[in-house]
Amino acid sequence: MTKIKSLFISLVLTLGVSTAIAGSHGSTLDLVKERGKLMCGSNTGLAGFGAPNDAGVWEGIDVDVCRAVAAAVLGDASKVEYVPTTSKVRFTVLQSGEIDMLSRNTTWTLSRDVDLGLEFVGVNYYDGQGFMVNKSLGVSSAMDLDGASVCIQVGTTTEMNLADFFKANGMSYESVPVETNSEADAAYLAGRCDIYTTDASGLYASRAGYPDPSAHVVLPEIISKEPLGPAVRHGDSEWADIVRWSLNAMIIGEELGINSGNVEEMKGSKNPEVLRLLGVDAGYGAMLGLSDDWAANILTQVGNYSESFEKHIGPNTPINIQRGLNALYKDGGILYAPPFR
C-alpha cells in the first residue's frame, strides 16, 4: 500500500504539471482560506501525539498544532482534514502539495530541512531515541543488547541512530523492519524482536496500549536528540511564519498563564505582552495576514502548550510522560518561544 502510494505520488510529481503551476502561484494561506479547511499530515496513529479517539476525532499534541493553525487562519480549530502518513511517505506527501503542513512527530534534521525542500518551523516536543524491552529479559542497560533482534520503523532517523549506536559500541543486532507503529507493536509482542526502539515518547505511547504495560521497561539510555516539530514546504515563508507563530502562541500562552478558560478575563490584563498576544493591542495579526484575534482563538479553542501536554501525554494520562525537557525554560526545561512583540 505504501509502495503504491509513494509510486503514485512520484507520478503526481511527474505529471502534475497543472497542479504544480497552480500550487506555486497561490500562496498556501490563500489556498487554505479558499478551501475553508486545513490539510494536515498526521501520524497513522500514535496515541497521545496523533490518533483518532473512540469517536473518530483526531487527538494529540501534534494534532493540536494543526488545530492551532486552523484556529488562527480559519477561526475554527475543527476545520482540519487529517491525512494519515507513514514515516516513509510523509515528506513526499508534503512536497507534492497534498497537505499544507506536516505535524507528525518528525525529527528536525539538516538534510530534511535543506535537501528535501522542507522548512521546519519549531519544536513541539523534545525527544530522544530509547529502547523498550520485556522485563523478563533482565536487561537494565542498552549496553547489554549485543546480538538482539530490534524492531525498527523504516525510513526514520531512529534507523540510522540505531546502526550508529550498535556500531559505535561494537555490538551486533538483527534489524526487523516494520512500516507502522502498530506493526512494530505486533512484532514486538509476538517476540519477533527483543527490543523495540523509537523515540522515547513513542515507546511510552505504545506501552500504554499493551495488555500488560508493567511487563515492559524503557531503558535509561537515550541515544539521540530528536527535536520533533511541524514542517511546511520550503519557499512560502509567509505560511511558515503562521505555523511557527501558532505554535509559539501556545508556548507563550503558558508562559503568560493564559489558558482556554481565562482568555476573556486576561483581555483586561495590565501586561502589555498579554494584550498584544490576545489582539487587544491591534496590529500583530495583520503582520501575519491574519485577524487580530488569531492567538486568542488558538488559546480558547486549543489551549496553551501545558494544557495540550497534560491532556494528551501528561502524568495523568495512560501515556504518563513527565514534562522533563519539555517544561518551560523557567521551569527547568528548554521550551522557549521568542518574545511576542
Binding site: 510529481l13 504544480a20 515528506f91 534507523e159 550508529d164
Partner: protein, 389 residues
C-alpha cells in the same frame, strides 16, 4: 508536381498512414520532453535536490536479510544490489516451488480420485480468488506465532524452529572440498554423455536402457565417493542459543518464508490451471493411439502427453513467472528486504530522490521481466513442433 505530392498524401492510403504515424510519434516525443522539462523545473523551484550522486553516499541503515555482506557504512548503490539479490532470490525460489506445486495440483485435478480432485479444486478456487497480499500477511502472521526464541521447537537436535526463523547448521568447507564439488560437476557432464550414447544405441538397436537410474547413481555416488576419499572435508557450524539469539549456523527468516509461501501457493493455483488446460488440449486420439501401441501409462504421460501439453503451457507459464516476480515487491508489507523495501523505500526516504530511485527500480523490474521472457521464449521455441509437421 506539388499538387501531386499533396494528393498522394491525402489519397494514398500507405502514405497517409505513414504521415499520421510520424505525427503521433512526434507528438508523443514532444509530450515526454515537456513532462521531463516541467518536472526538472518544478523540482528546482521547490528546492528539492536531484541527481544520482546519492548512490555513492553511505546508506546509514542495516539490512538483516542479505546475500552479500552489507553494513550501514556501505553505499546506497550496494544497498541496491542487496535488495536486487533478495528480489531475485525470492523470485527464483518462488518460481521453482510454484512450478512444482502447480504441476502436481494440475495433474491431481485431472485425477480419477474424487477426493483428491476436489481438494485440489477447492485449493485452486480459494487461493486464486483471494488477493495475494492478504495471503502473504496470513502466512507471515502464522509464522510469527511459532514458538518464541527461548522455547525453540527442536527438530532432530539440529534444526530450531522459532518465530525468528528456522535455524540450521551451516556447512564449513575445508580444504579439498572443491574436489568433491568438481567431481559433482564432472558427474553431471558424464551423465549427459552417457544419456546421448545410450539414446543413440536405443535408436539403433531398439533396446531400452534404464538411463535415469544409471545417471542418478553416477550423480549421487561420485561426489560421495570423493567425499570419503578426501577425508570428509566438511564440518557443520551448529547454531547455539546465546543471549538474545542463536549464534552461528544459518537462518531462514520468517519474512522470506512468508513471501515464499504466499507467492508460490498463490501462483501455483494459476499454474495448475495452465497445466490442466495444457493436458486437456492434447487430443484424445494421441492417448488412445499410444495405448494402442502398447506403451505403459507412465510412458504415455511422459513421452506423448506432456511434450505436447508443454506447447500450450509455456506461454501462460511465462506470464505467471512474470507475475510472481513483480508480486515479490509486496515484500514491503511484511518487512522482506527486497528491492522496493530497501532501496526503493528506505534509501528513497533517507535521500528524498523519489523520481530517480523509482526510475531505477522500475527499469530494474523491466530488465528482470524481459530477461525472464527472453529465456522462456527460447525454451518455448525448443518445445514447439519442428519441421513441417
Amino acid at each position: 508536381m506539388q499538387t501531386n505530392f499533396i494528393r498522394k498524401i491525402i489519397f494514398d492510403e500507405k502514405s497517409r498512414a505513414l504521415l499520421i504515424q510520424t505525427l503521433v510519434i512526434g507528438l508523443f516525443a514532444v509530450f515526454i520532453y515537456l513532462i521531463a522539462q516541467q518536472t526538472a523545473y518544478n523540482l528546482e523551484k521547490r528546492g528539492i535536490s536531484s541527481g544520482f550522486d546519492f548512490l555513492n553516499i553511505s546508506a546509514g541503515y542495516d539490512i538483516s536479510i542479505r546475500l552479500i555482506p552489507f553494513s550501514s557504512e556501505d553505499t546506497h548503490l550496494r544497498a541496491y544490489f542487496v535488495g536486487l539479490l533478495n528480489t531475485l532470490m525470492i523470485a527464483v525460489c518462488g518460481c521453482i516451488l510454484a512450478t512444482i506445486l502447480g504441476f502436481l495440483v494440475g495433474i491431481i485435478r485431472l485425477s480419477s480420485n474424487w477426493l483428491f480432485r476436489n481438494i485440489a479444486y477447492v485449493y485452486v478456487e480459494f487461493t486464486r480468488n483471494v488477493p495475494v497480499l492478504l495471503q502473504i500477511i496470513l502466512y507471515y502472521s502464522i509464522l510469527l506465532n511459532l514458538p518464541k526464541i527461548k522455547q525453540a521447537f527442536v527438530i532432530f537436535d539440529t534444526f530450531y524452529l522459532t518465530n525468528r526463523g528456522l535455524f540450521s547448521p551451516s556447512p564449513i568447507f575445508k580444504e579439498g572440498f572443491s574436489i568433491v564439488f568438481w567431481s559433482f560437476i564432472f558427474a553431471i557432464f558424464f551423465s549427459i554423455l552417457i544419456k546421448r550414447f545410450l539414446k543413440k544405441k536405443q535408436e539403433q538397436t531398439g533396446k531400452q536402457y534404464p538411463i535415469f537410474l544409471i545417471n542418478s547413481a553416477i550423480i549421487i555416488f561420485t561426489p560421495i565417493l570423493f567425499f570419503y576419499v578426501m577425508g570428509m572435508p566438511l564440518e557443520f557450524d551448529s547454531p547455539v542459543l546465546k543471549g538474545f539469539n542463536f549464534k552461528g549456523g544459518m537462518v531462514i527468516r520468517p519474512e522470506f518464508l512468508g513471501m515464499l509461501f504466499g507467492l508460490s501457493i498463490y501462483t501455483a493455483a494459476f499454474i495448475s490451471e495452465t497445466v490442466r488446460s495444457g493436458i486437456i488440449s492434447v487430443s484424445k486420439g494421441q492417448r488412445e493411439a499410444s495405448q494402442a501401441l502398447g506403451l505403459k501409462s507412465s510412458f504415455v504421460m511422459r513421452l506423448i502427453i506432456i511434450p505436447q501439453a508443454l506447447r500450450v503451457i509455456i506461454p501462460p507459464l511465462t506470464s505467471q513467472y512474470l507475475n510472481l516476480t513483480k508480486n515479490s515487491s509486496l515484500g514491503i508489507a511484511i518487512g522482506y528486504a527486497d528491492l522496493v523495501h530497501g532501496f526503493g523505500g528506505i534509501s528513497l526516504n533517507q535521500t528524498g530522490r523519489a523520481i530517480e530511485i523509482m526510475l531505477i527500480v522500475m527499469l530494474t523490474y523491466l530488465s528482470i521481466s524481459l530477461t525472464i521472457s527472453l529465456f522462456m521464449n527460447l525454451y518455448n521455441k525448443s518445445v514447439q513442433f519442428k519441421g513441417n509437421a
